[in-house]
Structure formats: structure tokens, C-alpha cells
Chain length 288, copies 2
């Protein structure tokens, strides 16, 4: 996809020297960019309180061939970028307002991680998992459920897998581990003392430790492989929201990678899992 000229970005980060009336235009557009894509040059001129040629010149200044072209570029910009405006939830937002905001924040986080993640580390993680004899997913607190989820995801491969959120159990398993054992430790902060100690213990036992955590965190430094997620999370206001999503998606990626590596080898295994679940479900056309 060719990089579109991000009109909205140019409007918000008004680095460019905008003149007085050009700023009026910026304001008028940002007030309701959506409807600006539908307005005529006259309407927008009136709304901004400037003349029509001013609008026109403004459009050209931003790289459009004219006003109609500008509207299209603006629309494109809205569709891709501005839909995910990371606007904070406001105290007097109603459901219809804050619901998309939260979804957008999640989407934002995911696209950001997508664009910043180190796929080489992912690749090496996949290599390690394929080679491992046994896989443990460790997480504490909010990351506990993520580890548990990973178990379900990796269960379809033939390697024994389990998740643990009890620090003592984690420590015991780490101490009893050996070469070929793989620990995936999940921690948003990467600063949970107990998990750091467990990581050290596991590495001393010659097991492999992969961390899914924050860049430059103590945990990242202690792992054989650190998958670092750059998720901006204002943990001061809320408990982690978006980091779990990023962690889960990264685990999806790794699972997919392992799956691709194994080719069709595990398909029969997967079918057996599916079949085992069948009797727990109501048939599709059951009376509701």
C-alpha cells in the first residue's frame, strides 16, 4: 500500500507555517473532518470565515491539486488514520462515545506493536518452541490469563504445554527444569520481582527463557529472547488494557509460525481436539 499523504497529520501537527486565515481553515476542518469531506468550497469558506480562494490555496499548499482532490485525500486520511484517534475517554462521555474510543485505543495499540515489533526475535522464538521438549507459560496478575490463553493456543502442537500463575509453582518448575524446557514469561512491566527470580533460576538450569515484556525492562535483560512490546499504557489511571491484547496477538503470531513450520504434521492432532469438543456443544440448529 502506497503511503498516502496524511492530510490529517499535517493539520494536527501544524508544524508548517500556517497563516491566520489558514489556521481558521484548519480549525473548521478539524471541527468536523467527516463533514468537511462532503462540503463544497463555499460552505467550508463560510464555516471558516474566509474566502473561497483561501481554501483553494490552502489545499494546494498541502499537496492537493485542488479542493476536490483535497477532499478525497482528507477522506482517505480519515479512513486510515484518524479513525483511530487516541482520544481519551471523557468523564461525561456516553456509551456511544466512549465505546468506539476504547476500541480505537486497542486498534491503535495493535497497529503500533505491529509496526514496531522485531520479527527476527519472533522468528527465533518460533525456532526455540519448535525445538523445545516442554513449554511453560508463566504470568502473574493480569498476565496470568494471557498465559492461560496461550496454553489453549499451543495445546494443538504435540509438545506438552502448561501455564502457571502461582509464583511458588513457577519457581519449583524452573528449578526442576532442564535443557529443552522452554519458559515463556509474560509481564507487562517486566519488573515483577518473583518472575525475575524465576527467570534466573530457569536459566541456571539450562532451560530457555523467552520474555514477552516491556523494552529495556529487567525481565527483557534476563531472557534468552526478549519479545518487547512497545505499548503505551497509562497504568496510572487504569489497569493495563491494551497490553494484554498485544501479548495475546504476539502469541497468536508465534503459534501461527510454529504451525506453519510443522506444516500439516499436527492436523490430525487438531482434528482430534475438535472432535473431543463436539459433544459439549449444542448443534447449530438447536432450539434456542
Amino acid at each position: 500500500m502506497k503511503t498516502p499523504p496524511e492530510i490529517i497529520a499535517q493539520l494536527t501537527h501544524s508544524k508548517r507555517g500556517f497563516s491566520k486565515s489558514e489556521l481558521k481553515v484548519v480549525d473548521a476542518i478539524l471541527l468536523d473532518p467527516e463533514s468537511a469531506t462532503r462540503a463544497s468550497i463555499a460552505q467550508l469558506a463560510q464555516l471558516a470565515g474566509v474566502s473561497e480562494p483561501t481554501i483553494n490555496r490552502f489545499c494546494k499548499k498541502l499537496g492537493a491539486s485542488g479542493f476536490p482532490d483535497f477532499k478525497i485525500k482528507l477522506a482517505l486520511s480519515l479512513a486510515s488514520d484518524a479513525r483511530f484517534v487516541n482520544s481519551a475517554v471523557d468523564a461525561d462521555d456516553d456509551v456511544g462515545t466512549f465505546t468506539p474510543k476504547i476500541f480505537d485505543a486497542s486498534v491503535n495499540a495493535l497497529t503500533r506493536v505491529r509496526d514496531s515489533i522485531d520479527t527476527k526475535v519472533i522468528q527465533r522464538s518460533i525456532d526455540q518452541i519448535v525445538q523445545s521438549k516442554q513449554i511453560y507459560f508463566f504470568g502473574l496478575g493480569n498476565s496470568g490469563p494471557v498465559a492461560a490463553d496461550a496454553t489453549f493456543k499451543f495445546f494443538r502442537f504435540n509438545t506438552p504445554v502448561s501455564s502457571h500463575h502461582d509464583p511458588l509453582m513457577q519457581r519449583m518448575l524452573a528449578a526442576a527444569s532442564q535443557t529443552g524446557d522452554l519458559f515463556v514469561m509474560i509481564s507487562h512491566t517486566g519488573r515483577t520481582t518473583s518472575l525475575l527470580e524465576t527467570a534466573d533460576i530457569a536459566r541456571r538450569a539450562n532451560a530457555t527463557v523467552i520474555g514477552i515484556t516491556a523494552p529495556e525492562s529487567p525481565l527483557a535483560a534476563r531472557c534468552d529472547l526478549a519479545i518487547t512490546l512497545d505499548v503505551p499504557e497509562n497504568t496510572d489511571e487504569y489497569l493495563p488494557m491494551t497490553s494484554r491484547l498485544a501479548q495475546l496477538t504476539v502469541l497468536d503470531v508465534i503459534a501461527t509460525g510454529v504451525s506453519l513450520r510443522q506444516g500439516q504434521a499436527h492436523i490430525p492432532h487438531l482434528r482430534r481436539i475438535k472432535e473431543s469438543l463436539h459433544d459439549t456443544r449444542q448443534p447449530i440448529d438447536s432450539a434456542v
Copy 2:
């Protein structure tokens, strides 16, 4: 944001009765949709070999107010399509290729749910949660970790909250429940027999049951409130990937709603939680 009329979709799935010359227009546009957004009506008319009014009528037929409006809608359609390339992971993809694909699939699912979710039901769910005396999150299998995650999320409110993934325990709690108790049952398929029974038991006990599940599923029909998530998931190939993310985000939304409703009331409670965690963490500047 209002659901955009997907022009491209209307063009490709030419279900609508297009006439001879209208088909010429479709072809001309699909030949190079990108440049069609930049063409004038005369250019496009020539390219398609039809008259200008034909183009104009065609645009109106597809729901645009005219040709310029059509171009904008087309541009929007292109942009969103490009972003949501739901291209399946290919057997010979390398990490750098399938990693963004999976992230995009997740983003895709979230935006789709965002645009299709019924915020009125969300609102009523928030109402119920605020009024409830006790909250239980139930999930089985893949949804178990989601329920567990919800516990962490809702713990910051003063209402007692717990999650359970043992069907017997779920059933016991449902049987022992009473008015004021709230059950949030999470199931991607909405067809897990055990959970359906538990829902019935809970409702007979006058507890409230909220479902986070598939539209038109047995579970949705059995709940007081059904938050239905329209997540396309090819469960045949892979175990659920994106549905968890949607479920988690919906729970984030609800938690946020409850939080807003309570205003600052729970802030001291939240601070206490934070402080309790402090000693488990390494200080930021600890030696790495």
C-alpha cells in the same frame, strides 16, 4: 462512526441489476479504482465508453449524492479495504509477512465489532453491573482466561467479583444465587451445553445473566442481556483467535462505563490496589 456504504463491495458482488452500460462503468472503475477516484466524470465516461449522465445515474444508484460524492465514497472504500486486507496466512509466508497479517486480522475484527456492537445493550449491562451485589464471570475453554481477565478488571470496583472455569462450580454458584447476583457468561459459540444449563439455573434463581457471545446463539436467547459479537472466525482452520480480543475489549468498555458511572468513588480503592502491588515490583532504575 456510521457504517460506510462499501462501494467496492457493491461493485464486485454485482448482485444489483446492472444494465449493459452500467457494467461498462463497473469494469472501468474496477480496472483501476485508485485512479478512478482522481478522474473527472468526462474522463471516466470516455474510458468506459458511455455518456456522462450514465456515470452520474450510476453513482446515484449506488447511494451517492452525485459523482464527486461517489468518488469520495470509493476512496473511503479503498482505504478501508486496503487496511483490512484479510489476506489469509499462506503456507510459505515468512515471519515478516504473516506477522502483520495476523495483527491486521485482529484489527479487522475489532473495528468490525466496534461498528456493529449494540451500545444500548452495553449501557444496560453497565446499569446491571452497577446495581449488582456480586459479580461472577464464567467461561469455559478459550473463554476461561477471558473471564479470569475480567476479574482483574472489575476488581477495582467495590463489588465482590470472581471468575470460574469449572462447570460444576459454575453450576453450584448459579444454583445458590439470588436476586442481585450477576453472571457474565462468555462463550464464543454460545452453544456450550454446560454453560447453557448454568444460565437457566441462574435465571430461575432470579439472578441476572449477561452473555457475551455469538448473535442468534442459544446462549444469547437465554440471557437477560446478550452482548452479541459479530466476529468472523474460521474456527475450522484455527482455534479462536480474534474473538477473545473482542470479548476482552468489550469487557474493557463495560469496565470503563462502570468506572465513569461511579465517578471518583472508587479512586481510593484503586490506589490501595496499586500500593499493594508496589512491593512486588523492581524499582524502575533497578540494575538490569
